[in-house]
Symmetry: C2
């Protein structure tokens, strides 16, 4: 048997948002590797070994998954959302660069519904015009780079999807991000706080940016800042397709 | 029976990338509305009326769908990819703004795997770091706005996903976009041309931006310009998670 590593996205939480492609890969897997809460979303069964690991163990986890595949196992590495958006796919390719002996292994990446798409769908269509996605965690990049990107994104009039806005270990950044955008003249823009989308804890809240408070976000929140034309219609929020 | 309009994303083409949520909505539908090639992806069955329409008929199509739902039909409006990304969801909310009598209708939006996620998965992980998505069509916005966004995206060092890069009626824009990025110093960046991802016609090609030619793209191509750190490992292309 020749091994394979499948890097798969489980979507935002609801089983009805897992693609059939990913479900089939899980059904054929011998091993599932990933951050514990995501591995916890996979149904245990005989013949399947689950390998949950801690947060911030990405490179170690990627190496473990490649090692298992090299031993002939059918390994699925699970991420929430899409594995290519601020998730495990990049970490696997980093590990592959460090350990070229694994570059001949069979690897495939299976896309998923990333958080900003699920959040946008619940709110309406705030990503219907040009937009950007910024990871607000400064674990892997300097904070001034994040501020610079927020300023340029505002100048470009992109809608801005913010991933990982706030955590216990990074309580300050999101408030600073809001301040940067306020200074950039975005105070009257609509901001959507989408918490735990597609799970029982889902909560969607839309406010003006000048009214937004840092405590409105946590690690399970995806934040979308509208562009300058983003507006409400009834209970919905959307970005018009036209721009002048 | 009370009507409902479901705005659903069919993913990039492969049936294995259609979410179970969308499949269930199609199975329960009385009417499917959309651009003809997308309606053509829905299996006909008794009790289901298909309403294919031409391109550029978005507002008319949205109005028709709302009208059907107001008559008590279970209508699914289909888009390729995700309905909220340069697709029909925004057009429906525009129609809703013009015709407030429909604002009480039941509407839901179902996300899908948008083209850039499917393209990224095939190539590796080029969206593993901050990125933006720009619709290169100037049907609904002035071309100088597109050029400005490309310059700012380059300055922000975003990876750039370009939707609708080139069509028969817009043969010039994509070449100009490449020139703008070359002038902005992106000549050595990797560019991924992902054609008809997840269909039998799929073709993925990666070149340096200075070697890219406009003819490499058509309307079925999703183009991803890497950021300044995007690199190859084996047959893969990825954006490192770290940045300095």
């Amino acid at each position: 048997m020749s091994g394979i590593l499948t890097i798969a996205g489980l979507g935002p939480g609801d089983q009805a948002l897992v693609t059939p492609e990913v479900s089939a890969a899980l059904a054929a897997a011998t091993d599932v590797v990933g951050y514990a809460p995501y591995v916890g979303r996979v149904q245990p069964r005989e013949g399947l070994t689950l390998h949950p690991s801690d947060n911030r163990m990405e490179l170690q986890r990627a190496g473990d998954a490649l090692q298992l595949a090299s031993e002939g196992r059918r390994v699925v590495m699970v991420s929430s959302g899409d594995p290519g958006v601020f998730a495990m796919a990049a970490a696997v390719f980093e590990a592959l660069e460090v350990s070229p002996q694994w570059q001949g292994l069979a690897i495939r990446v299976m896309p998923g519904v990333t958080a900003m798409l699920a959040a946008a769908a619940r709110a309406g269509a705030p990503l219907g015009h040009d937009f950007c996605a910024i990871n607000l965690s400064d674990n892997l990049k300097p904070w001034p780079m994040i501020e610079k990107r927020l300023r340029l994104a505002s100048e470009a009039d992109f809608a801005i999807a913010m991933y990982n806005p706030r955590s216990v270990s990074r309580p300050e950044g999101f408030g600073r991000a809001l301040s940067v955008l306020k200074e950039a003249g975005c105070g009257e823009r609509l901001v959507i706080f989408a918490h735990a989308v597609s799970t029982p804890a889902e909560r969607i809240e839309t406010v003006l940016l000048r009214e937004a408070r840092p405590e409105m976000a946590d690690m399970r929140t995806l934040v979308i800042v509208g562009n300058s034309a983003t507006r409400r219609v009834g209970r919905w929020v959307y970005a018009p397709r036209h721009a002048r």
